[in-house]
C-alpha cells in the first residue's frame, strides 16, 4: 500500500525528473525573498532608469506605477525597494498593501511603524490600532535583514483597525522620528490601490493630498482606468512621475522564463538564450509557445507555468514536448476557470467573449449586451476586468477602443460543454 509519505516522495521525484528542485513560478511576488526576486526579475530597464533617476535628487517625490492587473506592478515595486535597500542603507523603505476601509495616512502610518520595530512610540501606535507588534518583531528578527520590510505586509486585510484620531499628524511625527535614524529619507510604497473600488480610491487620493506632499517618498501602484483617469487630469501635479507598465515583449518574456527556470534547476544554471539547455525542461519551441500564450503578462506567465510544470510532473515527463505543453495549457485553462469561481453573470460574459472572440466598446451590439443582461458596456467593463483579473480575458491594445479577448489557451474539455450551443 502506498503511504502518504510515499506519495510525497513520488511527487518530489516527479519534479526532479524534470530537472528542477521545485516549481519556481508563483503568482504573488510578495512571497519571494529579495535575492530570489533579484534573480528572476527581468526587463523593465527603461522604467527602472526613470525611477532611479529621481532618486539621485534629495527632493522627495511621488511616483505612481500603473498598468493592468497582473502586469507586474508589485514585483516592480518590490524590486525597486530591494535595490534601494542595497544601495541606500540610510534610507528606510517600507511596503504595505492597501487594506480595505483604511485611509492612506493610516495605511502609511502602519507601514512606517512596522518598519521601525525598535521605536517604542511607533510600536505603541500599532498597539493602539490593535495590530500585533510582538509577533511582527519576532518575524523580523528571524528573517534576513534585507527582507525585513516584507514582514510589513498586512496579510489579513480585514483586521478591524481602530484608526488613529489624527493619522496625518501621527504620520508626520513618526516620519520626524524616522528621519533621525534614516537621514536619506523614508520611502512608503503603497501597493494594490487598484484592488479597491475606483471611487473609493479617488476619494482616498483626494483626501491624502496633504500627506502625499509631506515629508516622505511615496510609491503607489494603481490602475489605468477609474483611479487614474479623472484623477490624473484633475489633480495634475500630484505625481512627479507616472510610470506605465506594459506587457513584456517576447524576447524579454523568454529571458524571464530562462531566469525562473535557472533559479530552480538542479544541474545547470545556463542563462544564455542561445543555448537550448537554458530553457530545460522546456524545449526551445515549447518555451517559445509558452511565452506567446503568456502574452507578456507576468502573473499569467506564473499561473500558466505552475500548471504546466505540475501537469508535466504528473505525466512523469522529462521534458516538455509540444504534446505535454498542450496538455498543461489545457489543464491551466480548466484551473483558471475553476479558480475564478464566476458568478452566473460573469460566466455569461465569458461565454459571450468566447463566442465573439473580442468584445469592445466600439463594436459591441445592443443584442450582445442584452444577452449578458446589460444596457451599457461600462457595466460589462467591470465584469471583463474581473475576467482579466482571473486571467480569463486580456485587454487588447486597440486604438480608440476598450477591447478584450479571451486568453488564447487550448479549450479544455469543459469548455466544449459550456459552448455547446454556440
Amino acid at each position: 500500500m502506498t503511504t502518504a509519505d510515499d506519495i510525497f516522495d513520488q511527487s518530489s521525484s516527479n519534479i526532479q525528473r524534470l530537472g528542477l528542485k521545485e516549481i519556481p513560478f508563483t503568482e504573488s511576488p510578495i512571497d519571494l525573498r529579495s535575492e530570489t526576486l533579484q534573480r528572476i526579475f527581468t526587463g523593465r530597464q527603461n522604467e527602472l532608469r526613470q525611477m532611479f533617476n529621481l532618486f539621485q535628487s534629495r527632493e522627495r517625490r511621488r511616483i505612481l506605477v500603473y498598468g493592468r492587473l497582473g502586469i507586474g506592478k508589485s514585483a516592480f515595486l518590490l524590486e525597486v525597494l530591494s535595490v534601494l535597500r542595497r544601495k541606500r542603507p540610510k534610507m528606510l523603505t517600507t511596503y504595505i498593501s492597501l487594506p480595505a476601509n483604511l485611509d492612506l495616512a493610516t495605511t502609511a502610518l502602519i507601514a512606517v511603524a512596522r518598519a521601525m520595530p525598535d521605536d517604542n512610540w511607533a510600536q505603541s501606535q500599532l498597539y493602539q490600532m490593535g495590530i500585533p507588534t510582538e509577533q511582527a518583531l519576532k518575524e523580523r528578527s528571524t528573517k534576513a535583514s534585507a527582507n525585513m520590510v516584507f514582514g510589513a505586509e498586512l496579510s489579513e486585510k480585514d483586521l478591524p483597525i481602530t484608526k488613529p484620531q489624527y493619522p496625518t499628524v501621527s504620520l508626520e511625527t513618526l516620519l520626524e522620528r524616522a528621519q533621525e535614524k534614516y537621514p536619506e529619507g523614508v520611502v512608503i510604497a503603497i501597493d494594490d490601490l487598484d484592488k479597491q473600488n475606483p471611487s473609493v480610491v479617488r476619494q482616498l487620493m483626494h483626501d491624502a493630498q496633504g500627506m502625499l506632499k509631506g515629508r516622505a517618498w511615496f510609491l503607489l501602484t494603481g490602475h489605468p482606468m477609474g483611479m487614474t483617469g479623472d484623477l490624473l487630469t484633475s489633480e495634475r501635479g500630484l505625481f512627479d512621475l507616472q510610470l506605465k507598465l506594459e506587457e513584456l515583449d517576447l524576447p524579454t518574456t523568454y529571458q524571464m522564463l530562462i531566469n525562473y527556470l535557472s533559479s530552480a534547476r538542479i544541474n545547470n544554471n545556463c542563462t544564455d538564450p542561445k543555448d537550448p539547455r537554458c530553457v530545460l525542461p522546456f524545449l526551445p519551441e515549447t518555451a517559445k509557445r509558452f511565452c506567446e500564450v503568456s502574452l507578456g503578462k507576468p502573473r499569467l506567465f506564473n499561473r500558466l507555468g505552475n500548471t504546466v510544470l505540475s501537469t508535466a510532473a504528473d505525466l512523469q515527463a522529462k521534458v516538455i514536448t509540444p504534446d505535454v505543453l498542450e496538455q498543461g495549457l489545457r489543464a491551466a485553462a480548466l484551473t483558471l476557470h475553476q479558480q475564478a469561481a464566476l458568478t452566473v453573470q460573469e460566466e455569461r460574459v465569458r461565454v459571450l467573449l468566447l463566442q465573439r472572440g473580442t468584445l469592445s466598446d466600439d463594436t459591441i451590439t445592443m443584442d450582445d449586451l442584452e444577452q449578458i443582461g446589460f444596457r451599457s458596456f461600462s457595466d460589462a467593463y467591470l465584469i471583463l476586468e474581473r475576467l482579466e483579473e482571473a486571467d480569463l480575458a486580456h485587454q487588447l491594445n486597440q486604438d480608440a477602443a476598450k477591447a478584450f479577448a479571451p486568453i488564447p489557451l487550448p479549450p479544455s474539455d469543459d469548455e466544449f460543454l459550456s459552448l455547446g450551443g454556440s
Binding site: M225, G229, D230, T233, D361, M366, R375, F377, Y381, A400
Partner: protein, 599 residues
C-alpha cells in the same frame, strides 16, 4: 324597532319611526311623563340622524335639537346613565353635523364624550364606558384640530380601551364594531410602518367579519366589507394587482346589501370606493377600467349631492378629477379640463381651514393635472401655479402621510421640469431634495417607491452634469456615477441613456478622454436602440470631439460628419454649425499631418 329594520324600504321605515315618535310625544308629555318624554326625544334624535329623506343637514339639526331637549330632563344628577347615553348620541350627531364649523363640531363632540366619561366610569358602567371610548375613538380619528398623527394615536388608544371591555365573548357585536373602527384608524395611521399598519387594519376587519356575518348583521357586514375593500386597495404588501382585485370583490359584496334604495348614502360611498379601485386597477383593459371608474363616481354623485353631503360630494369630485386626469378615451385636453373642474369643485368644500388634509390632497392633485396641462400646452403659468399649490399643500400635509409623500414627489417633478426652462441649478437641487424627502418617508415596501426611486437618479444625473460644468467635479461625478448605477437596473432606458450621455460629457469636461469615449459610446448605442435621433446626434458629436482630442482624427471626423448630418435632419442648424467648427478644425489637422508625412 323600526329604525333598525333592514327588510322593506329603509327610507320609508325611518319615516314611519319618526312619525311614531312624534305621535308618542303628543301622548307622553314632558309634564306628565318626563322620563318617557325624554327617552322618546332621544329616540327621535336617533331617527333623525339616520333619516334618508329630506335635507340631511336639517335632519342632523333636528336630531341635535331632540337630544338637547332630552337632556333637559335626563340631567347628570337625576339620571346619570340616561344622561350619558344621550350625551353620547349628541356627540355622534355633532360628529356628523354639516352646519356650523366642522372643526368646531368635532371639538364639541369630543368634549361631550369626555363629559360623559366622567359619569360613566369603567368601574360603574363598563359597557357604556366602552361605548363612549369607541365613539371618542371615532371623533379623534376625524378630528381636524391638533396634530393628525397624534389624533390617530389617541383614536387607536380609545378603541383599544373599548376592546378591554368589549370582548368577543361578552359583547360580540360591539367587539366587532370596535374592531371595524380600529381597522379604519390603522388604515389612516401616520406613525409606524405604513405597510404594517395596513396589515393590522386588514386583520382587524377580518376579525370583525367573524361576527359581522352577512346573515346575522347584513348592514354591518357590508360596512366592514367596504372598509376591507379600502384597506386592500391601499395595501402595500402582496401583489398589487391581486390586492386591487380583492378590493373590487369586497366592494361588490358590500353593494349586494348596500342598495341604493335601502342605504343610499352607504351605497354612494361604496360606489365611490369602487370607482377608485377601478381607476387604479392593473388587470383588465386600462381604458375600460377608467370608464368604469367614472361611471361609478357619477352614480355616487347622484346621492352625494353638494347640499346633502358636502364632504362626501367633495371627495367624489376629487376622485372624479383623478379619473379624468388619467382617462385614455376621449380628447386629452378636454379630459384635463374636466379634471381641473372637478378638483376645483372639490376644493370649494375642502377648504384649508375645515379639511386641511383633504385640501392638501386635492391641491396636490390639481397641481398634478396642471403639470400635465403645462406639458401639453407648454404653459409656464400652469407649472408655476402647480409649484405654488404643492408648496402650500406641503405646509399643511402631516409629515410622512401619503399626501405628504405624493406632494414631495410631485414637487420634485415640477421643479425639475422648471429647470428645463430656467436652467437654474437651485431648481434641481430643490427637486433632488424633494425626491429624497419623499423617498425617506415612503415605506420601503411601497409600490410607488420605484417611481420616486427612478426620479431621483434621473435628477441626480442632470444635477451631476451641471455641477461638473460648474467646476464641482468631485461632487458632480459622484452623482452621475450613482445615477448611472441606479438607472442601469431600472426600466427607463431613456433616462439611463441620458445619464450615460451626461457622464460622458462630464468626463469630457474633465479631459478624461478614455472614460468620455466609453460613456458616449454607451449612450450612442442605447439611443440608437431607442431610435432617439437627438440622442444619437449629440452622442456622436461628443464621441467625435473626444476622438479628435485623442488624435484619432479619421474616426473622429466620421462621427462628426454623421452628427452634423443628423442635426441638419433634425432641423437644428445651430447645433450642426457647432459640430462643423470642430469638424473643420479636425480636417485641417489631418491635412497638416498628411503634408508632414509627405515632407
Amino acid at each position: 324597532m323600526n329604525s333598525d329594520r333592514i327588510r322593506g324600504d329603509r327610507a320609508e321605515n325611518l319615516e314611519q319611526s319618526i312619525a311614531a315618535y312624534e305621535l308618542a310625544l303628543q301622548v307622553y308629555t314632558r309634564e306628565a311623563f318626563p322620563e318617557d318624554w325624554a327617552r322618546t326625544q332621544n329616540n327621535l334624535g336617533i331617527a333623525y340622524r339616520n333619516r334618508i329623506r329630506g335635507d340631511r343637514a336639517e335632519n342632523l339639526e333636528q336630531s341635535i335639537a331632540a337630544y338637547e331637549l332630552s337632556l333637559q330632563v335626563r340631567t347628570r344628577e337625576a339620571f346619570p346613565e340616561d344622561w350619558a347615553e344621550t350625551q353620547n348620541n349628541l356627540g355622534i350627531a355633532h360628529n356628523h353635523r354639516i352646519q356650523g364649523d366642522r372643526a368646531e363640531n368635532l371639538e364639541q363632540s369630543i368634549a361631550v364624550y369626555e363629559l360623559a366619561l366622567q359619569v360613566c366610569t369603567r368601574e360603574a358602567f363598563p359597557e357604556d364606558w366602552a361605548g363612549l371610548q369607541n365613539n371618542l375613538g371615532n371623533a379623534y380619528s376625524d378630528r381636524i384640530q391638533g396634530d393628525r398623527a397624534e389624533n390617530l394615536e389617541q383614536s387607536i388608544a380609545a378603541y383599544e380601551l373599548a376592546l378591554q371591555v368589549r370582548t368577543r365573548e361578552a359583547f360580540p357585536a360591539d367587539w366587532a364594531m370596535t374592531q371595524n373602527n380600529l381597522g379604519t384608524a390603522y388604515s389612516d395611521r401616520i406613525r409606524g410602518d405604513r405597510a404594517e399598519n395596513l396589515e393590522q387594519s386588514i386583520a382587524a376587519y377580518e376579525l370583525a367579519l367573524q361576527v359581522r356575518t352577512r346573515e346575522a348583521f347584513p348592514a354591518d357586514w357590508a360596512m366592514t366589507q367596504n372598509n376591507l375593500g379600502t384597506a386592500y386597495s391601499d395595501r402595500i404588501r402582496g401583489d398589487r394587482a391581486e390586492n386591487l382585485e380583492q378590493s373590487i370583490a369586497a366592494y361588490e359584496l358590500a353593494l349586494q346589501v348596500r342598495t341604493r334604495e335601502a342605504f343610499p348614502e352607504k351605497w354612494a360611498g361604496t360606489q365611490n370606493n369602487l370607482g377608485s379601485a377601478y381607476s387604479g386597477r392593473i388587470r383588465g383593459d386600462r381604458a375600460e377600467n377608467l370608464e368604469q371608474s367614472i361611471a361609478a363616481y357619477e352614480l355616487a354623485l347622484q346621492v352625494r349631492t353638494r347640499e346633502a353631503f358636502p364632504e362626501q360630494w367633495a371627495m367624489t369630485q376629487n376622485n372624479l378629477g383623478n379619473a379624468y386626469s388619467d382617462r385614455i378615451r376621449g380628447d386629452r385636453a378636454e379630459n384635463l379640463e374636466q379634471s381641473i373642474a372637478a378638483y376645483e369643485l372639490a376644493l370649494q368644500v375642502r377648504t384649508r381651514e375645515a379639511f386641511p388634509e383633504d385640501w392638501a390632497m386635492s391641491q396636490g392633485n390639481l397641481a398634478a393635472v396642471l403639470m400635465q396641462r403645462a406639458s401639453l400646452t407648454e404653459s409656464d403659468t400652469d407649472l408655476e401655479t402647480a409649484i405654488a399649490l404643492l408648496k402650500a399643500a406641503l405646509d399643511v400635509a402631516a409629515p410622512n402621510s401619503p399626501n405628504f409623500i405624493n406632494s414631495q414627489y410631485r414637487l420634485g417633478i415640477a421643479l425639475s421640469r422648471r429647470y428645463e426652462h430656467s436652467q437654474n441649478s437651485s431648481d434641481l437641487e430643490q427637486a433632488l431634495q424633494a425626491y429624497k424627502i419623499a423617498l425617506d418617508a415612503i415605506s420601503p415596501e411601497h409600490y410607488d417607491r420605484k417611481q420616486i426611486w427612478q426620479a431621483l437618479p434621473t435628477t441626480q444625473s442632470i444635477l451631476g452634469s451641471r455641477l461638473v460644468r460648474e467646476g464641482k467635479w468631485q461632487e458632480g461625478l459622484q452623482l452621475l456615477l450613482n445615477s448611472v448605477r441606479q438607472l442601469s437596473t431600472g426600466d427607463d432606458p431613456l433616462a439611463h441613456a441620458n445619464a450615460l450621455f451626461q457622464t460622458g460629457r462630464a468626463h469630457e469636461t474633465l479631459s478624461d478622454w478614455d472614460n468620455a469615449r466609453l460613456y458616449y459610446r454607451d449612450a450612442l448605442r442605447l439611443y440608437d436602440h431607442l431610435k432617439n435621433e437627438l440622442g444619437i446626434a449629440k452622442s456622436r458629436a461628443g464621441l467625435g470631439s473626444v476622438l479628435v482630442s485623442q488624435g484619432y482624427l479619421e474616426k473622429g471626423l466620421a462621427e462628426l460628419d454623421k452628427a452634423r448630418e443628423s442635426y441638419h435632419q433634425l432641423q437644428q442648424p445651430d447645433k450642426a454649425a457647432e459640430v462643423d467648427i470642430i469638424y473643420q478644425a479636425a480636417q485641417r489637422a489631418m491635412e497638416r499631418q498628411t503634408t508632414e508625412a509627405y515632407v
